[in-house]
Structures are given as structure tokens and as C-alpha cells.
Symmetry: D2
Subunit: 328 residues, 4 copies
């Protein structure tokens, strides 16, 4: 990470990739910190796509009133694979120059980290990333903006499903977020008191799942919940596999899907988004880039985007162990 | 409906069919009203199945403490198709006799209504039904126990999905409860501000859905929500049909599934369950059977089970019209 | 109620008095129904005060996007006692005339009903009232917009307090909305499983409250909840009275206060607001005034404002009885 | 911290002091970890009081089924000042001996820490503390069990109050938990977007509060929220002070009170309680005492109870600064 002296007077802010609860809170913090520091602040709509299309809007303190409890992002977001092409990035760069935007705060997940890093490298352009993703899969921070909210939403849903599971003595497979990572699924499983969690990082033989259910049944468990990360298998297939093994049990499945993305941000998400939004602007002004702001415990930490995009974050394997210990 | 003079001293209560939020509240009311009236009260586990298996538990006022805010049913429920066989019903009747249970309060939906009616006819046995079902599909009551809670759960889920829909300018198809009836879907659609509702009672050409979306787009709507009752089509198929028509739009779908069944009962559900539980016992003691207790506005009404099982309830078509009016 | 033929081309809509959840939903429905009927629609800010101050804003379909799940009222509301003066009403009338507003939809409670009625009488001016109030204290409708949401909020709060009450074997007095009416308190009490409800309509000797607690204790109840309508006494005073009587018990109190006004409107509130907003406009155009739209069961009903302002609505005394029956 | 070799075969678990959401989850974890490790586990009702009164109950895995989403504590809790007397502690010790309980897991806040420490010192008795308190005021852990849930409850309440504040252009003072510490109030203020936070650790001249409001008004803020920790002043007094200064403003106040204690535990609280419950048992068995288990970031940390009871935890002053930055 290197420090450069260039005067930043106008900052652009955008949300990119999949939406996450708390993106609005992060924008609010970036906007108000910028205004408070005497900078101009411009919203770029639909992520980098808006940079390409010249969708810029001047923002002020009142532009972000009343959004602290709103899910989603009022600047809108977009998956913009074309940004991988150099010509597209050049166009975005030129538009930023024309608009006199001197630095960029990007709010997004790992795809956005890659785009932001490339863009910063191409043009030696000041960029800071605020990690926002319901997956919590970014290296360099204990938590991403949106994760705590999304897990709470999923846990709340599993609580409801457990009402039905218990009332009918059923076994439920609940498919949750997590195409490549099991962090989300593991946390949902611990918090919802699930009997089993299946995640992409750990290969699981479905016969072992059946065996575990059998043992738990002997211990007096009449209903059970299996949390399945979407990248670790199909709920429907696991359900029909288990139904074959246990013809007398009622096996059901549920796919939580998009409800996990939305909703009123939780306390933790709001404080995290506010804190990271504020330090992102402060560090950008100091000339520090390209990096991601994050937290380690209660400390703010900075990680070079090169490291962020090249390092994989592992789920908490001790929590997998906790699930096993609690399922007796 | 005829009145008989026979002395009821011990009542049995059971929950049957699909679980619904508020079943616990109805049990609580039946138990405490019975105790208050000097009757004995016995819980029958797993619906009629428990009558067959002799799963009886003596209940008292404290047995139902602390369950008013619990989803599901602590007496458990069961789908028991074998109850359609006369020999099975005879066994249940004999078990009730042996246990000296003089009358039955059945808490359940339309399947339970059929079983309860048949059972009452077979043995001239006192039975009252408390309508509990998230579908609100029983003739003879404005609302069933659980319906208000389930719609609130679904609306809350659609609110979350709308956050994502709006952030990405997407069209979402949300599949909700309703295999044969659209009542649930229509209410969810009005309350969530959905642009379109598709229900089993009204045949819809998907080309018309596409046409409606096109018109709404011209009016400035960038994202939209379509509520689809599960019995009116498959969300996945409609999504792929619409995606073909609108290649530049992002069409997504979500199936709410089992989360709609569980959860802390709402105010309305709790009051309804308490009121109906209480009058069910009072009327049973007066010798009135076989009937269903229900509400019409703020009045309690009674409907003979013959009428309940033979009459179809129609959804509120004016509400379908409301959806259209609001989607401009 | 008499029907007049005058051509209505532009409607004004305002929210007045205390805010209630669902006011935004009612505005949305009024606006879109008006637009759909080819009318112009103008928002008047801060209730009748905005009519006095010429705070008019043109509204269109997009003005009310994304507010169906927002508490409060974006048109703002105001208590405006000056509206009782004739000169003030004349000024408002003249401003409406100048702005070419031909009719008014007023969204509010009983104070607003009085103002709306007077205004309509003074100038033979077309006015319709949509009942919106968390108290549900308006004659002519089973439910007001906001009531269902507010009761759910209060019940949710009492559920939380019961966790503490049970953990400590405490008695809690919870003061809820209701200066003159006990409807709200009674519904909260039934739904939260409270042991006692005290309301303005029924004089209660606190010695009897103490006696009831003593009896319930003998029946095995170690903790209890008393719901007190704010107009029926002070929670603090009742707490200290009971503490004197039961020195070994832990008596606590909590005043729910303003949290009961806000929040995301419930399903029931949203559907009610949408339905009433729509029929209000339709009837106004037909020349029907001055009346209130309301519901009786699932039917829409109309009541002349003279009757609304002069008739008192009684709480459901059978529900008081239910509380007693359940508290054993 | 010293390690002793004594064989632990039976563990006692109790909850003590003010209740906090997640206490049930911690009990569940202690119970199941104990059973899994081959130990016997005994629940002690009403905290140390139950040790005095011989209120012991044998627990097994099924005893803690279905409580992961229940607020409060099923073992009940009690404030037991008599425990400060040596003779009382001796009696408790003898009862534990008689019951053959070899070690104690205490779930509670700072009062419980003091009692637990003294008890362990008196008899060289193995005791571990799981920090559970909605105040988050214990030295030795980033978070206590219950804190995250309670802040979410308070933030949710302030969101509702803001609906009313905005609809009426009002200023609201919201009094929240925190007799001696401002940690809770500060987090609520950041997360709810409050304009001002007043905490016990920082002396504030109310004239400065008035001044700040005046400045914010000039910047276009028409409504505002002031979060007041209960130990930093009386909401009612501040309200009347400000009303005198701003006769044209509508100043209101609300005291959140006991609702902050209860409720379904949040994801974060549940995972924390599960993790700490598990390591508490594991370390106790290893002979490590008397200490508190806690977290620093994602790491589990151990702090000697002497240090816990003698060190004060400071609130996050940078978060106070964040509130100021965001309130423009």
C-alpha cells in the first residue's frame, strides 16, 4: 500500500454486484463524511455501468435522509461483466475525468473487488472498497456489510420451518446462500440449532448424513433440520435420497432464495456500514489506495486489494464442530 | 343443526392436517375454557392418529402456559388418510369411549372438516371444528386461525424481495401458498403492492401477463412483482417464458414454501383462536354438533359441517381488481 | 347522505391528526385510483394546515412508489386546533378554490372527522374521510387504518416483557394506548395472554385487582401481566399500590408510548387502506359526501360524518370476558 | 489463572442477575457439551438463591430442546443480595457438596461476576462465568450474551419512533438502557441514525444540546432523535428543558424500558452463547478457574474473574464521534 499526494476534491460512490442490506447505510456514511470534510460527492447509478453511461447524480446530506433502515441500494446495482474489457474501463475512466471525480468508493463483494482493483491499477486511480456482501466471503475483514442481517433473516426463516418440523416430526432440508463458501450456512446452522450443516468446503457422503440422522433418532430426536449451502448440493436431491432411506419419515425441503438479500439492516450491519463508510472517505483523502476497509474485532483494518482478490477466506471450522456437539 | 341432551364431562382436543400458526392458542383456549367450566380436558396427540394409537394426555391450565406466542402445535399434527376407512374410525371411537371422552374439539382445515363430519355422523358423536388453516379456504368463516399470520409472513418476504427487485430493476415471480384457492395469493398481492396476481380460479394466458408487463414498463415501472399461487402454475416456467419475451430484463423467481406455515402468531390470529376456542367448548357442552365455529365480521357464527364440507369459498374478486388499479 | 351532480376533476388528499401506520398506503391508493380515473390529484402537506399555508404538491403514480411498507405519512400530519375557527376554514376553502381542488379525501381519526364534517357543512364542499387511527375509536367501521399494526406492535412488546416477567416471577403493568377508549387495551390483553385488563369504560377498584392477583397466585401463576389503558390510571401508581399489598412480589411497570404509532404496516392495515382509499375516490366522484368509508366484516360501508362525529364506539366487552376466562 | 487437577464429574449451571436474551441458548450449550463429555449436569433455579434453597434439577439433552429461540431463562434468575454474606455462601457451598456438584457455570453480568469470584475464592471452588447482560459492560469480552439482541430491539423501536417524528417534524428523546455505562446508548444511536447521544461517561451541558439542535435545524433537519442513556439524565426533564428553549418545536420523549430485555435472541447472540457455553464446560473440566470466557474478534479469550470485577470497560468513543459526523 503506497501513499500518494494528490488533492481529492470530488468523490464518486457506487454500489456494485449483488445487493446487500446496509448498502444504503454505507452510501449515507460516505456522503455525509464527504460533505463534512468539504468534498463534493457524486452518486454513480448501477455500479460501474453508470460510470460507462454517465449516470451521475450530485448528492448532499439530505439525499441520504431516511434510508438508514431501508434494504437494497437507492443508487441501484448491476452485474456488469463488460467491465472486464479494457475499452470499457477506459470509457469509465474518461467519464470520471470529465466529471472531475478524483476518487471512487466502491461498495460491493468479491466481483466488485476485482473490478475495482483492475481499474485502480489501469489508471493509477484512487479507489477504496467497502466490503458489502451477504456471503461474508471477502478476505481482510471479519464481517461484510449485510452478512449479519442476512443470517438473521435466514435464522428467522428456519425458526418458522422448525415450528412445522416439530409439529409433524419431520426432517427438513433448508437450502441457504453459499455457492462456493459455507460461512453463511455454518452460521445459520449454529444459530438455528440445526442438526447438520453441509458446505462446499467439506465433501460429505450422503450415506453419512443418513447415518447421523439414524443415530440422532436413537437419541430421541424426532424432527431435524439440515442446512445445505446451495453450492454443496441440491436440496431436492438430498431430500429424495433421504426419503428412500427413511420411508417412514417425512422428509421435506425448502429453498430460502432471494428473501435472504433484502430487509431492514440489523444493528450490526448498520454500525459496520457507518464506520467503514466514514474511514473509507478519510483514507481516500489521505491518498491511500487501492485497498479495502474492514474490521478485525473492534479495530478497523486495511488490506491491499491485490491481497483481497487473491486470498481465499475460510469458514469457521470450529463452528462446524459446535453444530455436531449441540446436535445430541 | 340439532340439539341433544347428553351430559359432557370430558372433552378431547386435537390438531389435524397441515399445521397453522395459532393452533397452540386455540388449544390453550379450549383447555382453559373447559377447566373453567368444570370439565376434564384431554389432549390427543398427532390428530386422529393419536385417537387410534391411544396417545392421550391429561391437560390442565398450566399445560398451556407460555404457548400463546409459539407457532405450530404442541399436540403435534398428522395427515392421516387411513381415517377415511370405517374400521379405523371405529377403533378411534372405541378408544375415546374407553377414555370416557364425551366430545371432541377438532382444530384443522378442510381435510379435518371432512374427517370430523364423517366421524360425527358415524357414531352420532359430538364434534366441533375450529377452522385452522393458512389458506383461509373454509366456507363458513371470514377468517381461519393462522391465515392472518401466514399472509403477514409472506408479505414480509415479498417486501424483502422487492428490495432486491428495485435495486436491480428486476421482475420477480413469487410463488406462494394456494394449491386450489387464490385467496391467499390475492391478499399477499394487494398487501405487497404486487403488479400482478395469478390464481387457480382465473385462467390466465401468459401472453397477457407479458403484455401487462410491457404496458407497465411504458408507464415507468422498472421493476415488478408477480404473485403466483402454487396451484396456478410453476414459477420457474413462467420465469423462463417471460425471460424469452424480455431478453433485456432480468426475470427471477422465488418459492416461499414452508416458511409461510410457522412463526409467532399475529394479534388477529391469537384473538380469533382464543374466541373460537372458547365458544367451541361452550357450544359443545350445550349439545350443539356437528358444526364449525367461525366469524362473520365481529360476530361468531356456526355452520353445520355438512355445509362446510360441501361448499366452496370464493376468493375476493374485488381484490383482484384492486391489484390492477394499484399497478399503474 | 345526498347525491349531488358536480363535476370533480381535481382531488386533494391530506393526512391529519396523530399519525398511524398505513396512512402512506391510503395515500398511495387515493393517488393511483384518482390517476386511473383520469383525475388530477394534489397532496396537501401537514393536514389542514397545508391548506391554510398553500402547501400543495402535484402527485402522480410514481410519487407513491415504494411507500407501501413505510410507516408514518410522507405528506406529514399536524394537529391544527386553529381549524376550529371559521376564518381559518374560510382561508383553507379559498386556497382550495384557487388551486381548483374540487373535493377532499381526509385521512385521519376522530378529530379529523370533526374538522372534515364542519368544513364540508360550511361550504357544501365534497369531503370523504378514510378512518386512520391506532385507537380504532371511530363509529362506522370495524377497523381503522393502523389499528391492526399498532396492536401487533404492542403485543410484540408485551411478549418481550413476558420473557422477563417469567424469568423473574414478576408482575408487570404495561401501559398502552387509549386515553378515552379501551378497545386497544382489550385487544392487546387478549392477544398477549394478559391476566388483567383495565380500561376507561369500566371502573375498577384496585383492591379488586389485588384480590384477583392473589387468587391467580393460588392457582399457580407466578408471574402476571396487567394491561392498563393510559386513560384508566397511571402505571406507576398502580405498581406502587400493588407493591404495598404484595411486598414479597416484584412489581414492575412499562409504558409502551410512541413505539405503538410507527412501523411497517401489517397485511391487514395495508389491504384496508388500499380498499378504502380506492372506494373513497370512487364515491367522491359519484358526488356522495360528506361521509366516512369503513368496513363491516368484508363489506365496505358508508356512514354520514354527522353520525360518525356524534356516535361513540364501544369496546368489545365479550373480549374483556375472554381475558378473565383465559387467566386461570 | 492456575490449573488444578481435580476430577469434575457433575456440573451445575445457573443464570443470575438481570435476564438477557440468549441465556437459554447458553444453558443449552452448557448442558449438551456436558452430556457429550460424559458429565452429569444439574440446573440450579433462580441463580444462587436456588443453591441456597436446594432447587436443583437434573438436566439432559432433551431438557433444552426447543429453547434456542426463546428469550429469558427457563432456569429463572434472581437478584440475591444476601449472597454477599459469608454464611449464605457457606450454605450454598454445602448444598453443592451434598449434591456432588463439582463445578459451576454461572451465566450473568457484573453482579454475578462478583458473587462468582467471591464464591470461588472462599472455597477454592471451580467456577466459570459466561458473560450475559444487555449492557455489554463486562471487561474481558467484546460482546456479552444478549447485547446484540437488545440493541436490535432498541433500534427497531427507534425506527418506529422516527416514523412519528418525521410525520410530525418532531424532536424525540428516547431513553434507553445504561445506568452507569453508555455503550448501549452509543450503539443504538449510531445504528438508528440519531442526531445526538448522551451517556453517563461524558458530562453534557443541556445548553449545548439545544445549540446542536439549532445548528442542525439550520442545516435542514426538521425532526431529530436524541438517545439518552438512563444514567445520564431523565428524558422528561430534558424534554421540558428543550421545550422551553424551542417553544415552536414539538418535543416528545419515550422510555423504552423493559422491552429491551426480552425477545427472540438474534443470530449473533445465539452463536456467541453457544460458543461460550461450550468452551466454559471444556475449560472447567480442564481445571481452569475462576475465569470468564469471552470473545475478542473471532477468538475465544479467558480473563481471571479478579480482573473482570476490578476493571472498567469503556464505551467506544469513536462511535460517539461517528454520531456527530453523521448528524449533518
Amino acid at each position: 500500500m503506497y501513499i500518494m499526494k494528490r488533492k481529492i476534491k470530488k468523490i464518486g460512490v457506487l454500489t456494485s454486484g449483488g445487493d446487500a442490506p446496509g448498502m444504503n447505510v454505507a452510501i449515507r456514511s460516505v456522503v455525509r463524511t464527504s460533505i463534512g470534510a468539504g468534498l463534493s460527492i457524486v452518486g454513480i447509478e448501477k455500479g460501474f455501468r453508470g460510470g460507462y453511461d454517465n449516470s451521475f447524480i450530485e448528492l448532499n446530506s439530505r439525499s441520504v435522509s431516511g434510508i438508514i433502515n431501508q434494504g437494497g441500494t437507492f443508487l441501484k446495482t448491476f452485474r456488469f461483466p463488460e467491465f472486464a474489457e479494457k475499452t470499457v474501463r477506459v470509457k469509465v475512466y474518461e467519464n470520471l475525468k470529465k466529471t472531475e471525480i478524483d476518487g471512487l468508493v466502491v461498495i460491493g463483494g468479491d466481483g466488485s473487488a476485482k473490478g475495482a482493483f483492475k481499474f485502480s491499477q489501469d489508471f493509477d486511480y484512487p479507489v477504496v472498497l467497502i466490503p458489502a456482501s451477504i456471503d461474508n466471503d471477502l478476505y481482510g475483514t471479519d464481517y461484510t456489510v449485510g452478512f449479519d442481517t442476512a443470517v438473521n433473516t435466514a435464522v428467522d426463516a428456519v425458526d418458522k420451518i422448525r415450528d412445522t418440523a416439530t409439529s409433524h416430526d419431520r426432517t427438513f432440508i433448508v437450502e441457504v446462500m453459499g455457492k462456493e463458501k459455507g460461512y453463511f450456512a455454518i452460521e445459520v446452522a449454529v444459530a438455528s440449532g440445526a442438526e447438520i450443516a453441509i458446505v462446499p468446503e467439506v465433501v460429505v457422503d450422503w450415506n453419512d448424513v443418513a447415518e447421523t440422522l439414524k443415530v440422532q433418532e436413537l437419541m430421541g430426536k424426532k424432527s431435524s433440520i439440515i442446512i445445505l449451502a446451495e453450492g454443496a448440493g441440491k436440496a431436492q436431491e438430498l431430500a429424495s435420497f433421504l426419503q428412500d432411506r427413511f420411508p417412514n419419515r417425512q422428509i421435506r425441503y425448502s429453498i430460502l432464495g432471494y428473501i435472504q438479500r433484502g430487509g431492514n439492516p440489523s444493528y450490526f450491519t448498520r454500525v459496520l456500514a457507518t464506520k467503514l463508510g466514514s474511514v473509507a472517505v478519510e483514507q481516500l483523502v489521505l491518498g491511500k489506495f487501492p485497498f479495502m476497509v474492514g474490521v478485525k474485532g473492534s479495530e478497523v483494518v486495511y488490506t491491499h486489494l491485490k491481497k483481497v482478490v487473491s486470498t481465499s477466506k475460510l469458514p469457521d471450522m470450529e463452528h462446524l464442530d459446535l453444530i455436531r456437539k449441540m446436535s445430541i
